[in-house]
């Protein structure tokens, strides 16, 4: 049996690329391909592509990082839009890995405890977390997603049978449009989690990532006052796995 491997889908808005690649090289202890998307209209990412690519190739270190597949995209759908570009790339590259990890350079300047929130989310790439995640995946074939237990949310009010969320109308529409009929309404807030690659890529072979991306809002969309497709897809990325008979585990 081959040792497990994973694909990391990382979306970057705030630059500091070498630091991120170094971090992944240090933390991840299984063979991995890094799909790395850069928001190209971000003030933090105005560097010339070729010089950047040279530098990033030089930043590759450690025994586990197999390759970096770099992409650039405009700021549409925030990190979700970037991750969809990377999923599209992954399908073209025909990359086969057992697990996938979604990450982005999370900063929420409008939240008071943004650093604590970021630390919580990035706990999933700590070696101890990764080890537990792979043991859990191996033991229980029904687990499709593993995330930090404190980032698993549920906005569904079972007594009212309604979503308590600014995104409720988008959620209802998307669930119906993509035939999501699972009654597990939990999702990973912050969109950083481990997921089995098989159901993930199966879904996106049926529903091309760019077709979804075109429906996402442009720019720095937020759901503090009204809903958005972008934030609804934050929930959908978990639910599309549940719709294929899998469940979620928090660690």
């Amino acid at each position: 049996m081959n040792p497990p491997s994973c694909s990391i889908f990382f979306h970057n808005y705030y630059g500091r690329h070498e630091d991120w690649i170094r971090l992944f090289s240090q933390k991840i202890g299984i063979a991995f391909t890094l799909f790395y998307n850069i928001t190209d209209d971000s003030l933090y990412n105005l560097e010339d592509d070729h010089r950047l690519m040279d530098r990033l190739q030089q930043a590759i270190s450690g025994p586990w990082l197999k390759k970096i597949v770099l992409r650039r995209s405009p700021n549409q759908g925030k990190d979700i839009g970037g991750k969809l570009v990377l999923l599209d790339t992954c399908l073209h590259e025909q990359e086969n890995s057992e697990y996938s990890i979604f990450l982005h350079d999370k900063k929420s300047p409008y939240k008071i405890q943004n650093q604590e929130w970021k630390d919580k989310l990035f706990r999933i790439i700590e070696p101890s977390f990764a080890e537990k995640a792979m043991v859990s995946f191996a033991k229980n074939k029904e687990i499709g997603i593993i995330a930090g237990s404190d980032s698993i949310y549920n906005e569904y009010d079972y007594s009212q049978q309604a979503f308590i969320s600014n995104n409720r109308s988008q959620l209802i529409q998307l669930r119906s449009g993509f035939a999501i009929d699972s009654t597990d309404y939990r999702y990973v807030a912050g969109t950083m989690f481990w997921v089995r690659s098989l159901p993930l890529l199966d879904f996106f072979r049926r529903y091309p990532p760019l077709e979804i991306r075109k429906t996402l809002e442009k720019g720095n969309i937020m759901d503090e006052t009204s809903g958005s497709n972008t934030h609804a897809w934050e929930r959908m990325l978990s639910w599309l796995i549940f719709a294929q008979g899998y469940t979620i585990k928090g660690l």
């Binding site: 209209d41 405009p74 409008y110 008071i112 442009k218």
Partner: protein, 282 residues
């Protein structure tokens, strides 16, 4: 070069040794969306091109399917895909100008849905020189066409397309172009120098415009964040608490409070009189 030259060829030529990087010399891979594997080969070549930007030249004979349009869009996310003035470049080649224009519109509409505005489309319909542009298949015709363009429209960008069948033909064509340009430079040195300066300044202008747009956007983001922080949020609760519990107290009471801090050892005595000293003991 003071004009833009596109060398359009297949994977075999573009995978070989090309010319050293040269201003306004661009490379483009020819792909036929109707041929299985053609776009896939082009995608692989551009993905793995780390030192050279490449554009797509699409041979268009009939309408592009939705799937092909999507695939072509995927190219634009590759960092080594060619952009001019930060706009992706696509060459559309074929015999039917109307069809080419329709396909340019379809592609443009889909790119816009993906947040990619204003792509640069070059419509290439034949060998004749039209609207300052020309496409050539032989080195001799290229050199003659380029000389003609330099003399007819020296102050605006002309775009030339050439189809080298081998790396050798490509290099020889490049030498002919260089020779034509050197000749022109000898004839009108001042004009040539002004054109070069103009090109450099145009480039700088585009770069500064991009920086300006990104800075403006980022400032708006920061304003948005501040509005959220100041609105119905936990920070507002903190601010209200501070206002109600402390800010409304009289000034003499606040000052007495600072003296009390010194007496209870929580604040340094010097900090009552000077700003540049350590204020709190913990």
């Amino acid at each position: 070069m003071i004009n833009r030259i596109f060398f359009i060829s297949d994977k075999a030529v573009l995978s070989g040794d090309l010319l050293p990087p040269e201003e306004n010399i661009y490379y483009s891979i020819l792909a036929d969306p109707l041929v299985d594997g053609s776009l896939e080969d082009a995608y692989t070549l551009i993905t793995h091109s780390t030192h050279l930007s490449l554009a797509l030249t699409l041979d268009i004979r009939e309408r592009l399917t939705a799937e092909r349009i999507r695939f072509i869009t995927s190219f634009l996310f590759i960092p080594s895909y060619l952009t001019l003035e930060f706009r992706p470049v696509i060459n559309l080649k074929g015999h039917y100008p109307e069809l080419l224009r329709e396909e340019a519109a379809s592609l443009s509409a889909y790119f816009s849905l993906q947040g990619i505005p204003k792509p640069v489309f070059h419509i290439i319909t034949g060998d004749e020189v039209a609207e300052g542009n020309g496409s050539f298949h032989s080195g001799e015709a290229l050199a003659a066409g380029y000389t003609h363009l330099l003399r007819s429209e020296p102050d605006s960008y002309a775009t030339i397309f050439f189809y080298p069948a081998s790396g050798e033909i490509l290099r020889s064509a490049f030498l002919s172009l260089q020779e034509a340009e050197m000749q022109y430079r000898r004839e009108v040195p001042q004009l040539y120098s002004l054109i070069q300066t103009n090109r450099r300044l145009e480039k700088e202008l585009h770069s500064l415009n991009r920086r300006y747009a990104s800075t403006y956007t980022e400032l708006n983001h920061q304003k948005q964040y501040l509005e959220i922080l100041r609105s119905d949020h936990a920070t507002k609760e903190l601010q209200d608490y501070y206002n109600n519990e402390y800010e409304i107290l009289p000034l003499w009471y606040k000052r007495f409070g600072h003296i009390l801090k010194v007496l209870t050892g929580k604040r340094t005595f010097q900090s009552l009189f000077r700003d540049g000293v350590k204020k709190y003991k913990n």
